[in-house]
Each structure stands twice: as structure tokens, then as C-alpha cells.
């Protein structure tokens, strides 16, 4: 059983400028307050892949774990879980008019039936609010704090 949340935001900067920053986890993750814990661990054997620890702080829970960050796709920041909460994440940027559209998508995988359904509903809302905050934080930083 899975739940997906998607958030989008328009940034008033050209796509090549946004992509340079937004797809770099060293730049993006510190800007997202909800990601209370994150740490680069090491490069993975597969070229362009890095292992990070990334956790969202959700009340009494720490949602996340070890992830495989894939930096090979242009204009994307993608990861999938290796340990901990099973999930995937995809940040993409694309040109729109004279700016850039940032899209963040997160999918959570939950085991079970009835309780899983409830957890999935709650989880989707939690992920949505965190992604909305991440998009707004990234948008503000790119529009106003980066020269």
C-alpha cells in the first residue's frame, strides 16, 4: 500500500540557475527545516550515487533513514530508501514562461491493511505539508537570498 504527495511552486528565476542549486542535496537539504536530520555518508559504488541519512521530524516520529541519492538525472534530485521508512523522493525543475516550476513528489510505502489505510491517509497529509514547506522554503531562498 502506498501514499503519494506532490507539491509545486513557481520560482522567478531561469531554469538553469534553479537547477544548479535545487538538484544539489548539499544546498537543498539544509534549507528544508522539516528535514531535521540529514548527513552525507559516502559515495556509492554506482557512479553518480551517494548514500545519505535523511529524516523528517514528525511529532514523536522520525520518518526516513538511509537513502540512495541519484544525481545522474539532469534537473532532478532523486532518492530511494535503503534503510528505515520505505519511501521515494523526486525533486524536478522545468522551465515555465520566464521562470521555473519546482515539483517535489514523495511516495510512502506502508505494510498492512486497515491500520495501513489509516496510516496512509495521515501520512499523505503529513508528507504534503512537509513538501509544501520545502517548496516554499526553496522558492524563497532562490528568489531572495541567492545572488
Amino acid at each position: 500500500m502506498s501514499a503519494t504527495a506532490i507539491s509545486r511552486g513557481f520560482v522567478r528565476r531561469p531554469v538553469h540557475e534553479v537547477a544548479k542549486y535545487a538538484t544539489d542535496p548539499h544546498f537543498t537539504l539544509p534549507l528544508i527545516e522539516g528535514f531535521g536530520r540529514f548527513e552525507y555518508l559516502h559515495d556509492l559504488p554506482e557512479r553518480g550515487h551517494q548514500e545519505w541519512d535523511v529524516f523528517l521530524t514528525v511529532g514523536t516520529l522520525h520518518f526516513g533513514g538511509g537513502v540512495d541519492v541519484d544525481l545522474t538525472r539532469e534537473r532532478h534530485l532523486i532518492w530511494r530508501s535503503l534503510r528505515g521508512t520505505r519511501h521515494t523522493f523526486d525533486l524536478s525543475v522545468e522551465p515555465v514562461n520566464d521562470g521555473t516550476l519546482i515539483t517535489m513528489e514523495m511516495t510512502l510505502f506502508v505494510s498492512g491493511q486497515i491500520m495501513a489505510k489509516l496510516a496512509e491517509r495521515a501520512g499523505r497529509g503529513i508528507m504534503q505539508r512537509h513538501l509544501d514547506a520545502a517548496v516554499e522554503g526553496l522558492r524563497h531562498h532562490l528568489e531572495w537570498e541567492v545572488s
Binding site: 527545516e33 511529532g59 503529513i126 505539508r129 512537509h130 509544501d132 514547506a133 516554499e136 524563497h140 531572495w144
Partner: protein
């Protein structure tokens, strides 16, 4: 009989509010209300207020996002937190309010004693000159009655007057974002066209007449004082913004507006991310 011209009280044709009277604020009354407010804020709304350490020791303009319709529960939580952090005898806080709030019998008297004054540039200048701080909600009724789906959005409706007032008076803006207030009742739609069709915008200076659901009224056009649902309220005071320092002596007001609303939107979304379940917390 005074020959002084009567100060402008806004564009409303039906309501004539008293002029700004700082003497309306009653510290003894505020002190007596604080325990009651604390009980409601702590037990009913399970409130959290953070960030007062960011407020500089000088008159400032607190700029908040307005929620909760006629109830405005987060305003009372903020006033409780402010008056206990700064103390009742410390720098006084005056809230600039709509003519409706300051004119009504009973409610108006209560509001004025708590430090609500009629919203006008002259009121703010008077407060700053007296060493007080001001709380404003640029979004006003449009924001307070925004649809529930937009509860985590800043909706200032392109109103820039607060920027001009802060800049003209040389005070910093301190953004204050709050969540939970708009979970205390439900607004189903926008309602701006309805307000315009019935002339409420000109008669009462009310720009929004949406359909809401509240206790005990059920479904209602607009809003009336109601029993708020016990939603968890969170408030975050953010870093001050010095408009003169950032935008100079003659700011581009569109740019300044975009910046302040961007800061607040980012802060509001971040605060909203702390919500685990709507209403419950």
C-alpha cells in the same frame, strides 16, 4: 462646539468608529483577563507560541496572518503571549482593528480595553510615538474568511498600506505566522463576488461574504461570533525586517510586498508542517 475637522474613519458609510484612543487600553483589565486567556489557550487550544526573543527592544509593527473569521482565536493567544512575555506594564501592544470591531457595543468595549484601536495610519503613528508596538493583519476580512483549503496561504490581497506605515514611522516589521486558527471553523468558498453584488464592500468595507460552517450556526453566509473548534494553535514570531535597510528611502512597494509575503509564506508553510493531524495537532 469643536471646529476641528473630524478625522477620517475609513470608507464605510454605516459605521463611524471612535478615533484612535490609546487611553482605551486598560492594563488592569488586561491583567485580569490573562488567567482566563491562559486557561483557554492552554487547555482548549493547546497553544504554542515561539520566537519572542527575536523581537528588538523598540516599537515594532507585528504583521500577522488573519484566521478564524469572527473568532480570531490566534489573536487572543498572541496577545496573551505578548503581555506575559513583555509584561502588561512593558511596551504596550495595540492591535489595529476593523471599524466593526471597535464600534460594536460590548465587543467594542472589550476590544478597546484589550488595546484594539481603529485601523488608520494616524492610529499607528500615535502608538509608535508613544513607544508602543502595533499588531496589524493586512489580509483583513478577506484573509480571515479565506476558504479552508487556503488555510496555509498568506492572503494579503495586495494591500501594501502596512509597509508604507512601517517605513514612514521608521519601525521594523516583525512577521508573525499562525496555524490552527482557520481550523476552528470552516469556510467553503471565496465569497468576494457575493460581497460585491450586495454592496458590502462599499457599505461595510467587507470584501468577502463566503459560506461558512460553525457551531452553533451550521451553514451561514459570512460569519458570526461562534464557538470555535478546539484546534491546536501554533504561532511563530519571525526575524524582524528593516524595510529602510533592505529597500532604501524610496522603496519599490511591489518588491517590498513580494519580499514580506514571501518571508511569511515560507514561515507559515514551515509552521504548518508541524501539524500531524488537522485540528487535533
Amino acid at each position: 462646539m469643536s471646529t476641528e475637522p473630524r478625522p477620517k474613519t475609513g470608507k464605510s458609510r454605516l459605521l463611524k468608529a471612535p478615533t484612535a484612543d490609546l487611553n482605551g487600553r486598560d492594563p488592569a483589565f488586561i491583567r485580569s483577563m490573562l488567567p482566563r486567556l491562559w486557561l483557554v489557550a492552554s487547555v482548549y487550544f493547546r497553544s504554542e507560541v515561539n520566537g519572542f526573543e527575536k523581537v528588538p527592544d523598540e516599537p515594532v509593527m507585528f504583521v500577522g496572518n488573519h484566521s478564524g473569521g469572527a473568532g480570531v482565536p490566534d489573536t487572543f493567544v498572541f496577545m496573551l503571549a505578548y503581555n506575559t512575555y513583555m509584561t502588561v506594564e512593558g511596551r504596550p501592544l495595540y492591535s489595529l482593528g476593523h471599524e466593526i470591531v471597535t464600534s460594536l457595543p460590548l465587543i467594542g468595549t472589550f476590544a478597546r480595553k484589550m488595546g484594539v484601536v481603529h485601523a488608520a495610519p494616524e492610529s499607528a503613528a500615535t502608538v509608535f510615538n508613544e513607544g508602543g508596538s502595533v499588531l496589524v493583519y493586512p489580509g483583513g476580512d478577506v484573509e480571515a474568511l479565506r476558504p479552508w483549503k487556503d488555510r496555509h496561504r498568506i492572503v494579503f490581497n495586495n494591500r501594501k498600506g502596512f509597509l508604507r506605515i512601517a517605513h514612514a514611522n521608521g519601525v521594523k516589521i516583525v512577521p508573525v505566522v499562525a496555524t490552527g486558527g482557520h481550523d476552528t471553523f470552516f469556510v467553503l468558498n471565496d465569497g468576494r463576488k457575493t460581497a460585491k453584488r450586495f454592496g458590502f464592500d462599499k457599505l461595510l468595507r467587507v470584501k468577502s461574504l463566503p459560506i461558512s460552517f460553525s457551531i452553533p450556526w451550521g451553514f451561514l453566509p459570512g460569519d458570526l461570533p461562534h464557538v470555535p473548534l478546539p484546534a491546536k494553535i501554533r504561532i511563530q514570531v519571525m526575524d524582524p525586517i528593516d524595510l529602510a535597510e533592505r529597500f532604501g528611502d524610496e522603496p519599490d512597494w511591489d518588491e517590498a510586498y513580494d519580499y514580506v509575503t514571501s518571508v511569511m509564506q515560507s514561515g507559515l508553510s514551515t509552521l504548518a508542517a508541524k501539524t500531524v493531524l488537522p485540528i487535533l495537532g
